[in-house]
Symmetry: C2
Subunit: 676 residues, 2 copies
């Protein structure tokens, strides 16, 4: 029996072409239900257009037109003003799976696999039998070329049915794809509309127009002319690199010696570090890389683990940024008014398996957000909204791992997606997002990434909590204040009348009762600028000396506008004032303005204090010892914070200025008091 079976089986063994494989497993590519298939096709086209425009430094103008041809059949036309595609590449890009330009580049881009758009072509022909037509024009050519093609799935090669040169009126450069596919058009969540809306929010430099099957035309308008900072291609970072990849690289390198191989083919390996690695791995720095054996490679990997190597450069990454995250959340909210808007958190870049990545998180909470049901999670990867496979995504796993009960959300046993009035936005940017499948809708549960997301979530939730606490405490103290300030004078007046003496001075008594430093911040938007006032009242019986910190959007501060210059300003928008002395019962106002922001970009200043008993302060939280970090997780990298040794001298100087100014203020204050 088994005699013949082995040979029978052998006869059946066959090679499967990659396109045949995906034709039969189209669900893996995101073509499972009719609704999702339509979305996936549009997504692949638009993501490509955005990538191409960014690479060519062109402000994107994209139009998506969806027409219903029959009950289940749609014509999808996507046009961009990108750099165009040279003619001989068109058939391969659109008619062949695993063909592309971004696979080998280590930089942040939306497409990386060389599968997306050709998969859409394949799905279209599989479900409608119709070819796809691509028109493209590069700036160099006078005319556009138009190619009609199908994919030969048996061979995974394009099958060009027609090609022609055509005049493309009014188009200098760009690409247009026209395909037919089986689908279903909806406008609810997980729809083309939602995807484009999400895309527009985190790509404010893009102009996107959608024409729906019922001819409704929606313009998602460009809101900034500024391109996102262009991302650079980098070399692989040594941290977590796989043995097999290291060996492949050593075989392929042009470097003649191990030391130069390490410095030139990796990022963040200086010659000092390369020397250290070779030493630890007991390898001659002069050895030819091509001679590297398995054992050598193993020792190098081990050595890399032991040596502290700088985090990868972050200019290969393009985070969304706090302002856009806020905007994104506000857009989702539409008419809802949440109580609390936690300042978004952008974590420093980190690495998994040699790939840099960066996590950002924003949370809104309370107000008239729906209190029933699970919190809404908005996921983005490399500025692309992820609408499907939420349950299988590391972002969701991270949300499930945080104990949200501490932040006022309902969560059984402190695990799982919490319930309550909140929306959580998560963005992961990376030179290589580890998607769970070719459909690129969920991020794999890589420990490093999930933990970074958890840290960002906790940090953001903590900010939220501080925010909530601050408001609650302020409200309570305010009530006490009001009572003291209305009742005390009346008592004083009455008592004075009875004993026939003058009404006593009440300020010292009030301060004794209150015994707080009251800090209030207000923001006013006028003439295109945000005018910030931070008022500090010393309602304590003694002089107060402490440090005040404020955080505002980076690079928006007008340096000249300060009523009191901070002793320290960081690029990140963090500022410190060393307030040397505020006399009892006196008030100090610090004012400054912010430029270049939209009205809704900024409505509240984060204020912290240090060098003072925090229970004496209302309106500002103690500076977190870890500042940006989560206390629950140990961190090995040093983070930027307010105290940096190399800056000490400069600081001292600034302190002295601060001192001068504050003494000036003090004098003024004392003058006022004497005049009283």
């Amino acid at each position: 029996m088994s005699r013949s079976i082995a040979e029978e089986l052998a006869k059946k063994q066959k090679e499967i072409s990659v396109s045949e494989f995906f034709e039969r497993n189209k669900q893996i590519l995101g073509f499972d239900t009719l609704t999702r298939s339509l979305l996936t096709a549009v997504k692949e086209g638009v993501d490509n257009s955005l990538d191409a425009c960014e690479e060519a430094d062109i402000l994107p103008e994209i139009s998506v037109i969806i027409k219903q041809v029959s009950r289940n059949q749609f014509q999808v036309t996507m046009e961009d003003n990108g750099p165009g595609i040279v003619k001989k590449q068109i058939p391969h890009i659109f008619g062949r799976l695993l063909y592309g330009s971004r696979f080998h580049a280590i930089r942040q881009s939306r497409g990386q696999q060389g599968i997306g758009i050709s998969a859409a072509v394949m799905y279209g022909q599989l479900t409608t039998g119709k070819p796809t037509t691509v028109r493209s024009k590069t700036a160099k050519e006078d005319v556009a070329c138009e190619i009609t093609l199908m994919m030969d799935t048996k061979r995974n090669r394009p099958d060009v049915l027609k090609e022609d040169f055509v005049i493309w009126e009014g188009k200098e450069h760009g690409t247009r794809v026209e395909m037919y596919l089986k689908g279903k058009y909806i406008r609810a969540k997980q729809s083309v509309y939602e995807y484009l809306k999400g895309t527009a929010i985190v790509n404010p430099h893009a102009q996107i127009t959608l024409t729906e099957p019922d001819s409704t035309k929606t313009e998602f308008k460009r809101v900034t002319e500024k391109m996102p900072p262009s991302t650079c291609e980098i070399k692989p970072h040594p941290e977590g690199i796989e043995l097999g990849i290291l060996m492949k690289m050593a075989k392929a390198t042009k470097a003649k010696r191990m030391s130069s191989f390490l410095t030139s083919d990796f990022s963040r390996i200086s010659s000092r570090v390369a020397k250290e690695i070779c030493e630890k791995a007991e390898i001659e720095p002069t050895m030819k890389p091509t001679r590297m054996k398995l054992d050598d490679a193993n020792r190098i990997i081990d050595a890399i683990k032991e040596i502290r190597i700088m985090a990868p450069p972050t200019d290969c990454l393009s985070p969304i940024g706090e302002i856009l995250i806020k905007k994104g959340l506000k857009n989702v909210l539409e008419d809802a008014r949440p109580d609390f808007f936690a300042p978004p958190v952008t974590r420093d870049a980190s690495v998994y398996s040699g790939n840099p990545f960066q996590v950002e998180v924003g949370i809104v909470h309370g107000g008239d957000l729906p209190p029933e049901g699970q919190v809404k999670i908005l996921r983005f990867a490399n500025r692309v909204p992820l609408l499907y496979q939420q349950g299988g995504c590391a972002c969701t796993a991270a949300v499930e791992n945080v104990d949200w009960r501490r932040y006022g959300l309902e969560q059984r046993g402190g695990k799982g997606i919490p319930y309550g009035p909140a929306i959580i936005l998560i963005h992961v940017a990376s030179t290589k997002i580890p998607f769970t499948s070719e459909a690129k809708e969920a991020i794999a549960d890589i420990t490093e990434i999930r933990e970074e997301i958890e840290r960002a979530l906790r940090a953001c939730a903590r900010r939220l909590q501080i925010h909530i606490k601050k408001k609650v405490r302020k409200k309570k103290t305010k009530e006490k204040f009001d009572i003291v300030q209305t009742i005390l004078p009346k008592i004083a007046e009455k008592s004075a009348k009875i004993v026939g003496k003058p009404v006593p001075k009440l300020e010292p008594i009030i301060t004794k009762i209150m015994n707080v430093v009251w800090i209030e911040d207000s923001v006013e938007f006028k003439d295109g600028k945000h005018h910030v006032t931070i008022s500090i009242y010393n309602y304590t019986p003694s002089r107060k000396k402490f440090n005040l910190y404020a955080v505002v959007p980076a690079e928006s501060v007008e340096e000249k506008s300060f009523s009191l210059k901070p002793n320290r300003i960081r690029k990140s928008g963090k500022m410190r004032w060393e307030l040397k002395s505020i006399p009892s019962t006196q008030k100090l106002d610090i004012t400054f303005s912010l430029k270049g922001l939209d009205k809704e970009d900024f409505d509240e200043t984060e204020v912290y204090v240090s060098g003072i008993n925090p229970v004496q302060v209302i309106g500002a939280e103690p500076l977190p010892g870890d500042w940006d970090l989560d206390e629950e997780i140990q961190e090995t990298t040093t983070i930027e914070d307010f105290v940096e040794e190399e800056d000490e001298k400069e600081e001292v100087e600034e302190n002295e200025n601060g001192l001068e100014e504050i003494s000036k203020k003090e004098n003024e204050v004392e003058e006022v008091m004497e005049n009283d």
Copy 2:
């Protein structure tokens, strides 16, 4: 600017080999974390072994040995007694992605992609730099061959480092794979141990031995010598076939006419149906299939939609079956004692996109199952346990869509995974499981599949509810009974004494008070058989005539053991008795025995009644009008139930027998009464 960009981009355009793609995206194949990677490698090997053994009709004996080589490095050895692999195929099967024998076959098998085991080889060499050694012997050859190979990922071709013939002592045929890989060994959930345990449960014909890194050896013993019914290869079913596939098939067919193309290349198309299709599609049945145009194909697809075509044959599928589902659940329970064990539901086969599939569900509930936390979901696809990606699976989506509050579980808003003491087992069998990724850990959310799972869940939950209701009602009535039967005689005795008259006959009074038909079923296991007794007490004042139904495991009934022969026995194990007359206050026992089951396989009979007011019956539920179906969903296919027209004649005959017997009983009963 954009001038050069298009050309620069063109220069970067490259073909990516499928192995290079997966080398960089190994998380898609299930190699993301170290723990999961080890599991995935074992899974691919064991699934292959099971498939090969089943194809060759060999009872599988599989051994898995995992040795720790260094901190993160493991040696994995997997050996089977399968048919072996012919020498020249070994390099391709193990050293090349997308190469296999099961891709084009429409039948239920574990592997289908030609990716699994070669992906493990690739992951091993990527993370350890070491090759894989495969030893295989077919029954035909005297010696085994041993090949050491790596994968050339640039070309996706095997690279044979060594090959040899060796004597394999005591092995007639089989295959052994030995590989090294980076991993992490755990024994918690989502571990190799859990996977093998799950596999053993649903593959009771397999003998599996696991040797863990600490040398612990676990035998998952074979519990049956019976191979699972072997699955047949079928032709594609026309329902839901994609246009592109139809056109491809028409081009490739050997048939000369459309009519014979339809009948010979598809399953369930008879010549009558073929004629009907051609008529509706306005196509000449004599047309050459190769001449079929896009329009023709479209019309054929439309015609197929309008014509009722038989469901696909189910012999291509191999469901786990109710008994094994019960066993599987009991095994998971270990020492826990649930209150309720819902009879598992095996749905009839259904189709999505031309692929037959079948859903099975089992639920246990209550008792000392942990009441906190979400219910446990056990997922299986083609008899393979799915341990990862639960959140992204159609099984989970289906569970989330059912309103479990009706079944006593906690669930916010009737959506989401419910909380409470329950375990839900779901098995999907199909000729093609639409996995969400090549890692084969989650089933895509295909509407047809998800809805079938939902139906099965609801049907099973309803059975659970009936079960619970039955027990609760019985308990209540029993209490009433006990009161009536202890107090009434005492009152009667006392009253009789007072008035000096004899104690009256109480049965008629009791029946008047109770007014129920009391049905009790009991099961006793003795001498390797289950002895079932269904007792029917008529505690009503009148004669009762109704139908009684019982469901027992299919094909286990001993026909000769019936004390009262049912009027109807179905292959599915459903039986009906037409009880023509049970006199008031009398009892009827129906006994029979079941053979070939293990003790724990059967402990309770499902009993239903019809033709009687159900509120009068305790201990049996009214026969569900839809029997197996869910009332909430409309079903188009006819299901097997007790009334089938073509069987009517046979039934009448049987009825008459039944009638005779029941009259015999009646006579006996009447005799007894007269003697009273």
